[in-house]
Symmetry: C2
Subunit: 681 residues, 2 copies
């Protein structure tokens, strides 16, 4: 694999090695030398010898072939060393040094120099401005951290070096292990995608946990993460939620859709599990390293020796949208003779229960076919022997995933340690246990991939319109098979009447001018026009339009069928800087503006995504029909969403769009009006 | 104080002492004997001597005066022992024994026997079915737990004994101390209120943390908690959220308002801080034991040596509705020469910062008058000495509350211990630190108590109406000064016309019958009636009404002024079984039914509460006016809420009510229709 030499080098050169204790170049050297199998070369022209190791004046002076160069020298000298690496045939480099993009304009120039050299010599460069990389299985610690983490099945990628340090330090105390730790730094060359691709084939890694502040290439991230998450769970904590939708945007969608929404949609569509806190990041990663799937159709069983915590868990199961198992008849037959406080789910074995009674109950419940996972709660009552209890958990685990909630401190330490040796994480708080099961379910559901549909569309004429800077009219939508009310373009009052007669009354009339976006605001829209008013309306609209637009670019008046009744919805799009077309759905008016009751997906998306977008908004009930009103035609709406998704994907020139309002009737739906902002405007 | 002998007894008798190791009666005895100052008496007719202590056959046999009796014998024998206690003059009793209300019908009968005896002898009884009580300052451990917690300033009350066990066990490992631990058990006699009242005067206790499943007396709880929380923070974790609003309820309010909403409102109104998880319960309690108030007007400063965690904290500050401080000019003047990565808030002292640079920055920021609290984040970088850093935190703490976020495991252990000795809790996760500051703000804001207003109302006539089982008509509302449209009751078509002429057209006409609740559904409501249609409408309404009600209890037709325009809101009430009148507010129609966008308060409530109810619903923006529409008359709405609050308080006969719709105009608002369910129906 491509990045093997970064994680499993046989020879490493440290450029910037130094004898000064506590200094970065000294700590890295010690960390590297801690691996007996590794041939380590120190490079620094100032010294002959460091820590008993011969010190070379430059990379060139080393005769041996070097797999990995680690660079920890002042930023300004890094380009020279990179050229030396390139010349020597070293392809893999970790640049620890800071003072690049993060340090201002000069640093940014220096960083582009790194990128240029890397391209020239085909270097795989980690950083700059990073903590380094760790591989616990090859025993490589190429960081200036003070600790080597324990072995484990989680690969941890962090965009913050300091956060990586903190996590490693914490992991030792918490007994959490890692397969690899990568501090991504400024991601000048290698970014999260390269590592995700590599980790797909890394047999030491079962789960990927990431701390991200942004992504280098959103579309690629979605592609790589989708592929990887089919086989290995990816859990991400994203911080830096500052980039909100812009208040100055000219579309509703533009004003609502910010980068938080884009990332959330991208994660969901790529099967990435999002963690909201550091605690969740590792709670989810640890549980997903063991449990990837929960028998669908089944429910969660709770076995507890104390009522209170059992209730907490049951509450949480409901709150997180999971389901409590209803036991089979045979299970009840086996449980009832045990004379428990409660034989129904949550099963309460009572405060005076021994570990044996707890174990027997666990065994019976684990055999139930309606049970897909078990939360096993034990308070430290006198009759409980936690070591025994942990063995019962392990036995039940052979049947069904069990999340132990051994509630206590010292009393449970040994048992928790034993469970951990078997890869099982204990939670003190039943609510945390439930949340991790929810993460497993989320992961499982997101893994089902479905490709976006493709509609045959003749886009040539539309492209021409765009190039000619013509008004983007309803033909754009009809070309994509998106239904609009019957319409015609009139350049004279007589023509308007002719069109209206053909359409039937009443009609709507709107100005057609590239200069007028907010048509209603300047009185250039007339609704419910009857036959006798058509001609007058034509003249009035044109007159008002002429007053408004100095360029007098008026192309005529649109005469349109009036669509009444049904529900108003809005579909919009804003081009996100990371992920591209971010499509929004919501019910029109107040629901979008006041309640922000909207859902998002990155286009192109699948039919399943479109269905979810609609179902996710809380006003969905209104579409389904409240107070005995008929159900709206949701299938037609799904069709519009999918066609619009393709339109946005195929026309990057469209920067923002609102199809608003769309009227959803009992049968069919129509885009009554729309607004678009293009890059050609 | 009343409960002094429970927590600080000089003599204790344990009824049910036993030599059997590991048994409840043996563990309690050992725990009691661990206090050298305590005179302990073992009671058990089967033994002469236990653990070197003389064993008495009964309570009577002890010559000494007994302050506290602890009872751990089979449930059936407890009443006899209680009588013995009473006869001997022992007033304070802890009943550990299980087998009462929690065990079914027989147990419940036995429990009511305990209550009866306690009343007769004036006993202060803790339990039954509990773990017991602990006072770390008097060194009393009257529980069957294996551990005595450390001293601390938090009193912990738990409705679950097993949960109390778990918390004590955890607290030792986590270094958290308690002043007292009380396992409330079945709360047959003493409940949370008695202990809360006692703890107000307990100098060892600074904060009360509670785990509750219900409250014994909701109104009293609100009163006691309000009083206590003025001086000591009360943090509650409530579980058992199963009791939802009833789908079968006849009012909107009844179908939405469940016990979760009632508890939430009661906690908010009583200044109780609610925790959503075990973690939050102790996070909040620990921080509130130190910080009770944050300088209002100021903001939160973040000082960090790593960008990522700084961003996490800043995100959380925004998410939880807190505010980042904007530094004073003088602060910036002092920070800029330090050449930090960022001198603005969040202040980034850079990854290469020493503890000294961190400390200097902390000091400068703490002096800023715009800063009300500081979050101090440190990742374990090489130059950081956590012990030094913790001393800087202590120094800054003298100026402003500081929440340290030392991120790490082993590296930070000693520093964290040092901070803890000074009562300062460290958090690994910056988000948790922010959440606890939010809890402090919540506590601070809730402490401002304002009494409900009182309106002079002549309620005699209404009481008579209620007793006479007459239709509750608009007079009920007008008596309370709640504005309704002009109206009159017509018993003939001519009278209807006369009334309508007086009111002005159009009018609304509705049947008046105690048998017809859903008037619109049976066609007994006519809206927008013009003069020419008044008589016909009268006949039609009466005809339809007669068809519907077999008893023919039709009292006439209500002729009412039509109120048009404005916004529809709903105010409702449901009598909660714990707290009484739970008043709901929301915007009419879809907002209540689909979005559940409603707010709750327990009546009677203050003007401030009423304002909050309105501001809390997300549709509040609609009342304030969107899209250039005028602002609704919110003051009139507040007035209706307060008058309705008094109405519900003074008429317990009203079980459920909906004032729906209420039309809020630009000036004034009117209750257009209402529904009530009374206990007299």
């Amino acid at each position: 694999m491509m990045l093997d030499k970064i994680f499993k080098p046989e020879t490493v050169a440290l450029v910037g090695a130094t004898p000064g204790e506590g200094k970065v170049g000294n700590t890295i050297l010690r960390n590297l030398m801690a691996s007996p199998a590794l041939r380590v070369y120190a490079v620094n022209p100032k010294y002959e010898n460091i820590l008993g190791l011969r010190c070379y004046p430059s990379m060139n002076a080393i005769e041996d072939e070097i797999d990995l160069a680690v660079i920890a020298i002042p930023a300004g000298n890094v380009p020279d060393v990179l050229v030396q690496c390139g010349a020597k045939g070293v392809k893999d480099v970790v640049v620890i040094s800071a003072g690049f993009k993060e340090a201002g304009r000069e640093g940014a120039v220096l960083e582009s120099e790194l990128i240029r050299i890397s391209r020239e010599y085909d270097l795989r460069l980690v950083g700059p401005n990073c903590l380094g990389v760790i591989d616990t299985y090859s025993n490589l610690n190429a960081t200036f951290g003070r600790t080597m983490p324990d072995k484990g099945s989680i690969a941890f990628l962090s965009q913050s070096g300091a956060f990586a340090l903190a996590v490693i330090d914490w992991s030792k105390a918490a007994g959490v292990g890692f397969s690899k730790v990568v501090s991504l730094g400024n991601k000048a060359v290698l970014n999260e995608c390269h590592f995700l691709e590599y980790l797909a084939g890394d047999s030491d890694t079962r789960v990927i946990a990431m701390y991200l502040e942004d992504v280098s290439d959103g579309r690629r991230f979605m592609h790589v993460a989708s592929e990887l998450s089919k086989t290995k769970p990816v859990v991400v904590m994203k911080s830096g939620k500052t980039e909100a939708g812009s208040k100055a945007a000219s579309s509703h969608t533009g004003s609502i859709a910010g980068s938080v929404e884009a990332f959330k949609a991208a994660f969901e569509q790529s099967g990435v599990v999002e963690a909201e806190s550091i605690e969740e990041l590792f709670d989810f990663a640890l549980t997903l390293s063991r449990i990837r799937s929960i028998k669908t159709g089944g429910g969660i069983a709770i076995v507890t020796n104390s009522g209170g915590p059992g209730v907490m868990a049951a509450d949480a199961v409901e709150e997180y949208g999971l389901k409590l198992a209803t036991f089979q008849r045979t299970t009840m037959d086996k449980l009832l003779p045990l004379r428990l406080a409660n034989s129904y789910n949550p099963v309460d074995v009572r405060g005076d229960a021994t570990s044996e009674r707890f174990g027997t109950t666990l065994e019976i419940v684990a055999e139930d076919e309606h049970v897909s996972a078990i939360i096993a709660i034990l308070s430290p009552t006198a009759p409980v022997d936690f070591d025994k209890a942990s063995r019962y958990v392990l036995a039940a685990e052979a049947q069904k995933p069990v999340i132990p909630v051994f509630m206590g401190g010292e009393s449970v330490t040994e048992a928790v340690e034993l469970l951990r040796e078997h890869g099982i994480t204990n939670y003190f708080d039943p609510v945390r246990a439930v949340k991790t099961l929810k993460a497993v379910c989320d992961y499982e559901q997101a893994r089902v991939y479905e490709p976006p549909p493709h509609f045959d569309v003749d886009t040539r004429r539309i492209r021409k319109q765009l190039q000619d800077k013509q008004v983007l009219d309803y033909e754009l939508l009809t070309a994509y098979g998106i239904p609009v009310p019957a319409y015609g373009k009139a350049v004279s009052a007589d023509e308007a009447l002719e069109i209206a007669d053909r359409i039937g009354y009443p009609v709507a009339m709107k100005i057609l001018s590239p200069d007028i976006v907010h048509k209603t605001d300047v009185g250039c829209v007339k609704l419910n026009v009857q036959r006798e008013a058509v001609k007058d309306s034509f003249f009035e609209i044109v007159r008002r339009g002429e007053r408004y637009t100095s360029a007098r670019r008026i192309e005529g008046v649109l005469v349109q069928q009036m669509i009444c009744g049904g529900r108003e919805v809005i579909i919009g799009m804003k081009r996100d800087r990371h992920f591209g077309p971010l499509v929004m759905f919501g019910l029109g008016g107040i629901y979008v503006e006041v309640f922000r009751d909207v859902s998002f997906r990155i286009a192109p998306f699948s039919k399943r995504d479109a269905e979810e977008m609609i179902r996710k908004v809380r006003a969905y009930r209104i579409l389904r029909g409240v107070r005995g009103e008929p159900m709206s035609d949701i299938n037609s709406l799904i069709d519009i969403l999918l066609r619009f998704s393709q339109l946005c994907t195929e026309f990057p020139e469209i920067l923002e769009a609102d199809l608003n309002p769309i009227r959803v009737l009992e049968s069919g739906c129509y885009v009554v009006d729309f607004k678009m902002v293009t890059s050609i405007d």
